[in-house]
């Protein structure tokens, strides 16, 4: 390993230990991307309705605060639709994410899309508020295709806006 590599690794490890929202690797990647990629960032997009900003094909999009899976926006679907040919799961779990545009907390339903093998694109793991499997209502490790008509064949995950959280 070259000296610069060793230095980069050490620096990345330190960074990962300080604070990270996503994986060590994602954090290292974010750092690396952050070094010189500011001009490359996608132009913030405003969405109708809630007034949203950000790129729904990127893991740092605000609605994905508690997601774990492949983003349907990269797989032929959107944040609120499944890719063609798949089946939307009816049972799922919900998270609460803060929209940075208006500062409000919103209920997000992370329905899985099922019936095709894993899409394999735009892997995203954020896990804010995720709980272990015995807390099924808040567990994003569960394959929520269970119970769908396509059974457990998982393709990707959506992030459907359900409403404003009252905090109760």
């Amino acid at each position: 390993m070259s000296a610069i590599d060793k230095w980069m690794e050490t620096f990345s490890r330190l960074l990962a230990r300080q604070s990270s929202r996503r994986s060590f690797l994602a954090t290292a990647g974010a750092f690396i991307i952050g070094v010189g990629a500011a001009p490359l960032l996608p132009v913030a997009r405003a969405h109708a309705g809630t007034g949203e900003e950000g790129d729904p094909t990127r893991c740092d999009y605000w609605r994905y605060c508690a997601i774990d899976g492949f983003l349907c926006t990269c797989c032929g679907g959107t944040t609120s639709s499944c890719p063609p040919g798949t089946v939307a799961s009816s049972v799922t779990w919900v998270g609460t994410c803060r929209n940075p545009t208006d500062g409000k907390d919103y209920i997000i339903s992370y329905n899985d899309c099922c019936g095709r093998s894993g899409c394999g694109r735009c892997t995203c793991q954020r896990d804010e508020g995720d709980r272990p499997l015995y807390r099924t209502d808040s567990a994003n490790d569960i394959n929520w295709c269970a119970g769908s008509s396509a059974d457990i064949v998982y393709n990707c995950s959506t992030a459907v806006l359900m409403g404003v959280s009252t905090g109760d």
Binding site: M1, S2, I4, D5, M8, E9, S12, R13, A16, R17, Q18, S19, S20, R21, R22, S23, F24, L25, A26, A28, G29, I32, I33, V35, G36, A37, L40, D68, V91, G115, R116, S117, G118, G120, C122, T123, Q125, R126, D127, E128, G129, D130, R131, P132, L133, Y134, R135, T136, A139, D141, I142, N143, A146, G147, A150, D151, I152, V153, Y154
Partner: protein, 404 residues
Amino acid sequence: MRVWSSIAIAALMLVMAPATADELQPETLHVEKVPDGPRDHWIWIGDLGAQHNVDTRAMLFDADKGKMLGMLSTGFWSAGVLLPKSTGNVVALETFFEKGTRGPRHDYVTVYDPRTLLPLHEIEVPPRRMTALVQTRMAGLTDDDRFVAITNFTPRQTMTIVDLQKNRFVAETDTPGCGQIYPAGPRRILLLCGDASLKSMVLDDNGKVVKQTDGKPFFDPFADPVIVHAVRAGDDWLFVSLAGYIYQVDASGDEVKLREKWSLLTDGERADGWRTGGYQPLAVQKKDGLLYALMRKGPESTYEEPGDAVWVFDIATHKRVAEFDLANATLAIEVSQDANPIVYGASMKTVVPYWSLVALTLLGQKFEQLDVVKPALDVYDAKSGKLLRTVDHVASFATSLKQP
């Protein structure tokens, strides 16, 4: 051109000349068997195939030689393997759809011969096995190796019992609010429930549940939940919470009780965000009573992300007796039980130089994290923490480790 071709052919014939037809021993294609010999440092890796989970695998490695010995195709989103010591067989939790991803679903408990890795018995069970990113504790063997218990989720919660002596499905029992499975006796299993208790279930000789005992909550499932992966030390099960506390429960009596709660962390380390990481962060070295914990530093939401250090604790005194950094970001650890123990790490190794990632980024190239990492098996000396070897390109998404 033709002249040169003739010369080349003549030269080739000269090179081949020493091997006459009489001397040549043709090779015979054959199929290997898993070799005999010490298995102290062998490890089964559960490959969840996250990018394409219709094709999960279980792969057997010799960690001393850094050599792959064989593998199983465990179908759709397997819960990995169970390893009954009494028979030495390999028991896999498998799911298949008749048309790949469509058609009727079939779940099996498949018993494999440990030498040939061929199926000995394919026991069909109700097609309701729970699938999740965590593979450990989704099924368990009773201590006498007789029965397999499997957690189901549709989202109705039930438990399937399979008899490994008669190689048949026994029954499916409702287990509302309870799921993951922890053996606690020859015919007894515990189920972790949503109210933070462990329910005890005793089976008779036919695998029928004959006694159920509810437990009392032993942790706060809202303020500081434990992860479902846990390890066993004698009659105790050790659970770890997101805030780095060990909840050590005594499973010897009818009702499971909290023996003690102790901490992996100092208050300062907890404030700094240290906690366990990955999907299988605990391992016990039984002879010396040591707990190996895969550690990381980050906010609570990173509790399943890779760890980069191992801390070693004396279970009796709760003291941290060693710690070492890991070579790669690691998702699961296990420790061997022999006189010269090793620590296995299922890791995500960055396979391109870090400086090149910076260069690519500066050049405007976008890449995902999984583009630049490959799962690896790291092997460490359990006493010194020294990295002994890294086996590259193991599995596609390794989240569990199990020793024969």
